[in-house]
């Protein structure tokens, strides 16, 4: 057993010996190809493969490619190798250019508008299906998937408490600290309560909560539904006569919509606590005063507004997560794309909705 070697006899005859196969550990075909390159192009070269020890398809393919895909009279083979070259010659087919394939793909999906319309259509279908399921549950309350809803409330709500609380608190501290420095310059210390109260309860709380929920629960939902599609679990459910909308989508949507306002108040609460603590140390505003003063400057309508926002954002995140989960194709690439899209779209849409809310409610509660 020896590695693949070749030698030149009488100037025009090239003799290959040794193991021309991947099995010989010492072979490096790129090097061999480079060494052989000058002889491939020489038309008067005579190739002697009869003393070769072992020839596998890899080496044969390399030689055949070098000869331009054709076996000529100038190649002498052992009979047992002829079939190998034969099958290799038959396997030849025009090479596909990769770049062309890419361009084809672009042509098939013209523009983002079409994909947007497709998404919208799917989304509307999903909401329609959900509405039908709700109507069905009205008539058959026994079929309400309590267990799944409860599990989703626990996963998306209870388990999210630590992270939302922590992030809320930190944001409160940071905001209060910056505001305190500015307000002290103007001697308007007491306005810290107004600023924190309004900003956190009306704007920051809902946005923070939605971003965290989208990143935490939204991505998990998309991935879960996506994997269930990949492994055909959703189809299995369907064959058992279980509606996937009822058992998979509805519990997620209901649970997230229900817990979003609660999470929102939890996040806002910790943000206010963080702000209050900083206000005490930086500006000397006592906790008691802060708590007493807050309802006077932030009207109760703001809480109603925040609750509505909470419901809307929770519903949006859950719907978008399920929408992208159901669009996962059975491959890993699509799964990762969908999960990313789900989170990015949720956050974008939530911020868009928030802007709309801000404009629509500009004269309420301030």
């Amino acid at each position: 057993m020896s590695d693949a070697v070749f030698k030149i006899d009488e100037g025009s005859r090239i003799v290959l010996t040794g193991q021309w196969s991947l099995r010989a550990a010492g072979n490096h075909f790129a090097v061999l190809q480079q060494q052989l390159a000058p002889y491939f192009s020489r038309p008067q070269m005579f190739w002697d493969l009869t003393t070769i020890e072992q020839l596998d398809s890899a080496a044969a393919a390399l030689l055949l490619t070098g000869w331009g895909g054709q076996l000529s009279q100038r190649v002498s083979l052992r009979p047992e190798h002829e079939s190998l070259f034969d099958s290799l010659q038959h396997a030849q087919s025009p090479r596909r250019a990769l770049d062309e394939a890419l361009i084809d793909d672009v042509v098939i999906h013209p523009g983002m508008l079409k994909s947007f319309v497709l998404h919208l259509a799917d989304f509307i279908t999903l909401t329609g299906l959900l509405t039908l399921e709700f109507l069905y549950l009205f008539r058959r309350p026994r079929d309400i998937p309590w267990k799944e809803i409860s599990a989703n409330v626990y996963k998306g709500g209870v388990l999210a408490l630590p992270v939302t609380g922590l992030v809320g608190g930190m944001i409160g501290v940071a905001m209060s600290y910056l505001m305190a420095l500015q307000l002290r310059k103007f001697g308007a210390d007491i306005f810290i309560v107004n600023i924190l109260g309004l900003a956190i309860i009306r704007e920051l709380g809902p946005i923070l909560m939605s971003v965290l929920v989208a990143g935490r629960s939204g991505s998990a939902m998309t991935a879960q539904i996506g994997v269930m599609r990949v492994t055909e679990e959703i189809d299995a459910l369907a064959t058992m006569g279980v509606s996937r909308t009822l058992r998979l989508i509805l519990p997620k949507v209901v649970a997230l919509t229900l817990i979003a306002p609660l999470l929102l108040f939890w996040t806002s609460l910790w943000a206010l606590i963080g702000g209050m603590v900083v206000a005490f140390f930086q500006l000397g505003i006592g906790f008691e005063f802060f708590i007493e003063h807050l309802p006077r400057v932030v009207k109760a309508t703001n809480l109603v507004l925040a609750t509505i926002k909470g419901f809307t954002f929770g519903l949006t995140v859950a719907l978008i997560a399920c929408h992208f989960g159901l669009r996962v194709q059975p491959n890993t690439e699509s799964l990762s794309n969908s999960t990313t899209s789900s989170v990015v779209t949720s956050i974008t849409v939530v911020i868009l909705l928030d802007a709309l809310f801000a404009i629509a409610t500009r004269s309420i509660g301030i």
Binding site: M1, S21, A25, A30, A58, L62, S87, L88, A91, S93
Partner: protein, 267 residues
């Protein structure tokens, strides 16, 4: 290279496997000789797949040693491991094709990893492997999700064969295929074995596959190999699992040996 004709391609020496308190393999030893086709059979949960995973180095036995081509995969350095791993190909039960890559790219993957071939050669080799497993060139652009069960197995086999391995490891090669396709697949493996001079180890539940493909059968029961012999010799075994199992095999062997009569009856 340490491998020559007398070194067993694969050798399991006193293997113990334990998951928590469950013992899967107890002092199990087995040997696969060069050029033979060995079937690994046993009841569900008897540790066949686990043993296969030990052999290809995906898992390690609790105690004992697996030698591939005379070398222990666990004690080799990275390059050595890669070298040994390139000498065998594995076909997974579900195919385990890379779902984001097309059929072409799946088969080309091991060749590209080698970094020894240019695109033209890779293309030729992939097309050759496709033809070898009897797939059409136009299938090259399909994604695994678009393939049928039988095609997935074929592509998996083509990928396993792309580095011209000496040892082919098959996990349930015909599971999930209809009898017709599974027969075709078995015939394909038999042909390839002759063409490429392969050593094959496979796990199966399917008695038809077993009788038509295997040279030798290793029966895994009671945590070790209770029998390792040709199918005919299984008849003289007294182990209850082997007896039970052999009854099923015997019927098939009779059919297998007298195919002409059956055809006459059928017509």
């Amino acid at each position: 290279m340490t491998a020559d004709a007398t070194t067993p391609v694969c050798e399991a020496i006193n293997i113990w496997t334990q998951f928590g308190n469950t013992v899967i393999h107890k002092n199990l030893s087995m040997q696969v000789n060069s050029g033979e086709v060995l079937a690994l059979v046993g009841g569900s949960g008897s540790g066949k797949t686990t043993l296969l995973r030990h052999i290809v180095g995906l898992t390690q036995p609790t105690r004992g040693e697996i030698r591939l081509f005379g070398e222990n995969l666990q004690t080799l350095d990275r390059d050595g491991q890669k070298r040994v791993r390139n000498r065998f190909g594995m076909l997974f039960q579900q195919g385990a094709l890379f779902s984001a890559l097309s059929v072409f790219e799946n088969i080309a993957f091991p060749l590209r990893e080698l970094r020894q071939f240019d695109e033209a050669t890779i293309h030729l080799l992939v097309m050759h492997k496709l033809a070898l497993v009897e797939l059409e060139p136009q299938h090259a652009d399909l994604l695994p999700a678009q393939l049928s069960g039988g095609m997935i197995k074929r592509v998996g086999l083509a990928r396993a064969l792309s580095l011209e391995p000496e040892l082919l490891v098959l996990d349930e090669p015909t599971a999930g295929l209809d009898p017709d396709r599974s027969e075709n697949f078995v015939r394909l493996i038999k042909d390839l074995r002759i063409q490429l001079g392969l050593t094959v180890v496979f796990v199966t539940h399917d008695l038809d596959t077993l009788t038509s493909l295997a040279d030798r059968v290793a029966v895994l029961a009671d945590q070790h190999i209770v029998a390792s012999c040709t199918i005919d010799e299984l008849g003289s075994m007294t182990h209850p699992f082997v007896c039970n199992f052999f009854n099923g095999v015997k019927e098939r062997l009779e059919r297998f040996n007298k195919p002409n009569e059956l055809i006459k009856h059928g017509k």
